[in-house]
Amino acid sequence: MSVGNLPSNEYLIQSYVLDSVTATVTFDITGLGSQFRHLQLVIAAKTNRADRADLLYIKLNNSDATKAHILQGTGTSVQSLSEDLRVGYIAGATTTSVFGAAVVDILDAFSSTKNKTVRVLSGYNNGTGGGESIVALGSNFLNSTSTLTSVVVAAIGSFAIGSRFSLYGVTA
C-alpha cells in the first residue's frame, strides 16, 4: 500500500473536493467487504484552525480510536506521542497555499474477527523548521471486530475549501 508499496489492485471508491468549509468528512462503506479487503484514504487538506498545523483524526464506525500513537519529526527532534487520539497532521490556516497530506491505510477493514488497525504517513511543510513543519508515522486501532461501515475524517478545525479526500479499495 502507498505508505510502503504501490498496489496495482487498487480501485477508486469515492472522492470529495470541498467547495465549502466542512467539519467532518464521512465515507459510507457499507457492503464493500465483498469487493475489497483493505482501504486506503488519501488526504490533501488544510483547516481553518488559526495555527500552522491541525491534528488529524480517523474515526471508524463513528467511534474514537481506542488508542493512537505517533512517531514524528519536527525538523529539530524526533518525538513519540500517545497521549491523545491524533493519528497525523495536516496544515492549519496560517499559510494560504500550503496543504498537508496524509496516506491512511485501513487494514482488513471488513474482517469480522479482527480489531481494526490504521496506519498513516502524514505531514505538512510550512517552509521553515523548528516545529513549523512536521512529518509523522502514526497508527491507531479500534478495539472492535465489527465490519466497518463508515470512515470519518476529522480535525480540531474545519476543513478548508479545496481540501480533498479520496478513498480507495484494495483487493486481497
Partner: protein, 159 residues
C-alpha cells in the same frame, strides 16, 4: 467494480549509469503522481539525488524528515532520494494535487536504502509553486550517478 486507480505513465530501466533522468510531458489527467526509484548508486557511501519540478532549481523546495539509526530529524531544502551502491534501495514519493494551480505541491516520501550509515527515513516536502507539474527531473548531487539497472517509474492516480 470501481475504476482501477493507478496507471503507469512511464518506466525507465537504466542501461548505463547516469546522473539525471527526466520525465516530461506529464499529462494533467490524474490527481496525484507517485514516483518510485528502486536501485543503487555508483560509488560507495550514501549518494544523494534531488527531485526538481518543471525545471525549477531555485530555492522553492523545502522538506522536513526523520530518520532511523540514529534517530534524528532535519529540515532542509529539496526533495531527496538516497541510494547506496552495495544494497538495493527504494524511494517512494507521492506528489499530491500536482496539476492544481491554486496549491503549493505537497510531497510525502519514504526512503529505504540500508547500510551501516544510511537509514530508513520519512519526510514531508513542498514545492512552493501554484504551477501545474508537467516535468520531473531526478538529478545527482555532487556528481552522484544512478547505477545501471536502476528502475524509475512514474504513476498517475485518479481521484
Amino acid at each position: 467494480m470501481a475504476l482501477q486507480s493507478t496507471t503507469p505513465i512511464a518506466t525507465i530501466t537504466l542501461q548505463q549509469a547516469t546522473s539525471a533522468v527526466t520525465f516530461s510531458g506529464i499529462p494533467n489527467t490524474y490527481r496525484d503522481l507517485v514516483l518510485i526509484v528502486q536501485g543503487t548508486a555508483v560509488a560507495s557511501g550514501e549518494r544523494f539525488f534531488y527531485v526538481y519540478f518543471n525545471g525549477d532549481t531555485a530555492a522553492n523546495y523545502s522538506r522536513v524528515e526523520m530518520t532511523g539509526n540514529p534517530s534524528s530529524a532535519s529540515f532542509a531544502n529539496l526533495i531527496p532520494i538516497t541510494l547506496i551502491s552495495s544494497n538495493e534501495g527504494r524511494c517512494h514519493i507521492s506528489i499530491f494535487d500536482y496539476s492544481a494551480t491554486n496549491k503549493h505541491k505537497s510531497v510525502l516520501y519514504r526512503n529505504d536504502a540500508l547500510n551501516t550509515t544510511a537509514t530508513p527515513l520519512a519526510g514531508a516536502g513542498r514545492w512552493a509553486s501554484n504551477t501545474a507539474i508537467d516535468t520531473i527531473r531526478i538529478e545527482g548531487f555532487s556528481g552522484a550517478q544512478l547505477a545501471s539497472g536502476t528502475n524509475i517509474s512514474l504513476y498517475g492516480r485518479i481521484a
